[in-house]
C-alpha cells in the first residue's frame, strides 16, 4: 500500500519536472515552431506521468479507470493538435528563424 503511494509521488514529481521544462521552453525559445516543439512533447509526457500517478494514488476503482482513460486520450490527442497547429502555422507563413539569419541580423546591427 505504501509502495504505490511512493510510486505515485515519484510519478507526480516527474510530471512537475516536465511541466517546468515545457514552460521554460515556451518562454525562452525564439521561434513559433521551436516553442511548439517544446510544449507539444513536454506537456504530453507531463500529463501522462501526472495521470498515471493520480491513478496509482487512487487505487483500483472506477475513478482510476476514468483517469487512465484521460491519459490514453491525451497521448492520442495532444500530438494531433500540435501537428494541426504547426501545419496551419507553416501554411500561414510563420517564419522559421535560422542560425544564419540571426548572424546576419547581428552583422547588420553592428554595421548600423
Amino acid at each position: 500500500m505504501i509502495v504505490t503511494k511512493i510510486l505515485a509521488v515519484i510519478f507526480m514529481l516527474g510530471g512537475l519536472f516536465f511541466f517546468l521544462t515545457a514552460t521554460i521552453g515556451i518562454l525562452r525559445f525564439p521561434d513559433f515552431f521551436t516553442r511548439l516543439h517544446a510544449t507539444g512533447k513536454g506537456d504530453t509526457l507531463a500529463v501522462f506521468l501526472f495521470l498515471i500517478g493520480f491513478s496509482l494514488y487512487e487505487g483500483f476503482t472506477l475513478t482510476s479507470l476514468k483517469i487512465l482513460f484521460i491519459a490514453v486520450f491525451m497521448v492520442l490527442a495532444q500530438p494531433t493538435a500540435t501537428h494541426a497547429l504547426s501545419r496551419a502555422g507553416m501554411r500561414c507563413g510563420e517564419t522559421i528563424l535560422l542560425h544564419e539569419e540571426k548572424k546576419e541580423e547581428k552583422k547588420n546591427d553592428s554595421s548600423i
Binding site: K5, V9, M12, G15, L16, F19, L20, A22, T23, I26, L27, F32, R35, L36, T39, D43, A46, V47, F50, L51, F54, Y57, E58, L62, T63, K66, I67, F69, I70, F73, M74, A77, Q78, T80, A81, T82, A84, L85, R87, A88, G89, R91, C92, G93, E94
Partner: protein, 89 residues
C-alpha cells in the same frame, strides 16, 4: 499527503502564470494558440489536484474529461479556421 497536494497545486499555479505571459504578449496568433493549449493541460491537472484536496475525485474527474475534450477540439478548430482564412486570402 494533503501538504504534498497543496504544494503541487501551488507549483502548477505558478507555472500557469508563467505561461500566461506568452498568452498576453506573444507575437502573433499562433503563439497565443499554442500557449492556450499548454495552459489547458495545466488546468486539467489542477482540477484533479483540487479533487484530491477536497476528497471528491469522482466528481472532478468528469469535469477533467470534459476539459480535455474541449481543449483538443478548441485547438483543432482554431488551427482549421486559420488555415481556411489563409486559403481565402
Amino acid at each position: 499527503m494533503t501538504l504534498f497536494f497543496q504544494i503541487l497545486g501551488m507549483c502548477l499555479f505558478l507555472l500557469v502564470f508563467l505561461v500566461l505571459y506568452r498568452v498576453v504578449f506573444g507575437p502573433g496568433i499562433f503563439n497565443r494558440a499554442a500557449a492556450v493549449s499548454a495552459l489547458g493541460n495545466k488546468t486539467l491537472i489542477i482540477l484533479l489536484v483540487i479533487g484530491f484536496l477536497y476528497h471528491r475525485v469522482e466528481m472532478f474527474v468528469d469535469i477533467s474529461i470534459v476539459y480535455a475534450l474541449l481543449n483538443f477540439i478548441g485547438t483543432l478548430a482554431v488551427a482549421k479556421y486559420l488555415e481556411m482564412e489563409q486559403r481565402k486570402l
